[in-house]
Amino acid sequence: MWKNRAVQTLLIGAASTSVLIVVLIFLFLGKEAAPFALTPGLSALFDSKWIPVSFQRERFGILPLLSGSALVTLLAMLITIPFSVLGAIYIAELAKPLEREILKPFIEILASIPSVVLGFFGLVVLAPLVKSFFGLNTGLNALTGAILLSIMAIPTVISISEDALNSVPHVYKRASLALGASQLQTIFRVTVPAALPGIIAAVMLGVGRVIGETMAVMMVTGNAAIITANPLDPVRTMTATIAAEMGEVPFGSVHYQALFCIGVVLLLVTFGLNVIGQQVLRRYGMRQ
């Protein structure tokens, strides 16, 4: 009896570690960021300028960083979703076994390319392409960052969407085909709707990857902290700001605390996205 209980507590302990880690991370970030709420005050975060090093007046407004992250993420998802969902449909439903054998390993290789390498590729190859295509004077802008990020997100989203499509029961498809529906009708009216929760989960994971990505974004987005909705303007993302400035910021300074505030905001955003994703999943689950 006690053995049973011992094993059970051990398992609960193991299962709840991640909960604890999340709580601890929140606490740690909060602890480092908290002094910022006292001295400059939280309202300083809602400034429209991010000028952390200045001989005039240091300003720690995260609005340009927030809008930068949002713009890059939005653009990246606009590119990622059609490519990866259509790709997943092809691989899961239409591809011949041989095609699948070739396509899948390459998608996996794409997923495993380190982000710094992709960033370098973006800087040297992609940025000049974007520059000449749009006739700009530089290729370092939000769009280049978004394209690069979608290259990173596509393999993840394809793999998970494909799993979701494959897990749709075969009887659904057979029933649809038996009722006289064409293959395309079956795919878009039966299989995809049935796999939709999984596809949405895949997209949410993709968003998570995109918004948290740092290195590649830092190398190609130009990092100018301006508020803009123009894809061809440079933007500075939250992650790039933390990565670029944390290295040499004086420990415990207001700037240091401001960077932790960005960390908290980033965490809250990803946390919020996760919660929304869960809600969507639950609602779709109930409808079926």
Binding site: L20, S54, F55, V124, N137, T138
Partner: protein, 296 residues
Amino acid sequence: MKIKALFMISLCIFLFGGCKASNQEGDKNAGGEKAAQKTHKGLSIKGSDTMVHLTSSWAEEFMKINIGSEVSVTGGGSGTGIAALINATTDICAASREINDKELSLAAAKNLKPQGVAVALDGIAIIINQANPVSFLSQEELKKIFTGEFTNWKQLGGPDQAILVLSRESSSGTYVFFQEHVLSKADYTERAKLLPGTSAVVQSIATDKWAIGYVGLGFAQKAGKDIKTVAVRKDDKSSAVEPSVETVKAGLYPIARKLYFYIGEKLSAQTQQFVDFCLSDKGQAIVQETGYVTIK
């Protein structure tokens, strides 16, 4: 269910308690480390990130010559290095700027008189694309470009093209030096692109025809054929000076700085030996190899 909840709560308490305890332990350890560092026979150098490459090259060569000696080099910025010198956690502070009055009074409060030794010179070159016809700029014009007052090359006698302003990240010592000496402490334009590292600036200027940026002299000389340096004149009366080892050494090129070692008054034999080595012919040859300008 109740048991589970109880268990979770106790686990939390246990972990947080542990966390706090280990924190205190960490503080103690840090204190111990400080004491240990003082008695340790190795030499530690801390400070400017601009100089890390130079000081670590010196340290490597020094350790090769003096077998058994240990020199550790860390960056962190000139300010960090000076603070470390005042707190006696480093033997030598590498600084790409002079110590300021506030830091001197902090040191005086601890009965310290930091001595500065200039060990090398560094010039900051303004670089543009080879296709850009502009060949010289005044310091005033540079200020206006980097603060966003000038936005088009035609305001500087060039073609009708928008100026693309490139800068290093704000954590860079060069960023601060440039802001202080060229921008007269004004803020950079918010349209300036902050690039992570010198190579990114060089790469971007090589491909973007109407970009302008600043890099250390050593990098500018190795930057390749797509890039050219701009001659700089101090004001309208003086003549424009090309950045080069000679002009920096002669004090003609306006955007240059001295790189310092700051050391305490009483030196250990090893510290003295290391500083002497850096100023020796061999040490100064390394200065040249790493792209800086020799002091002698």
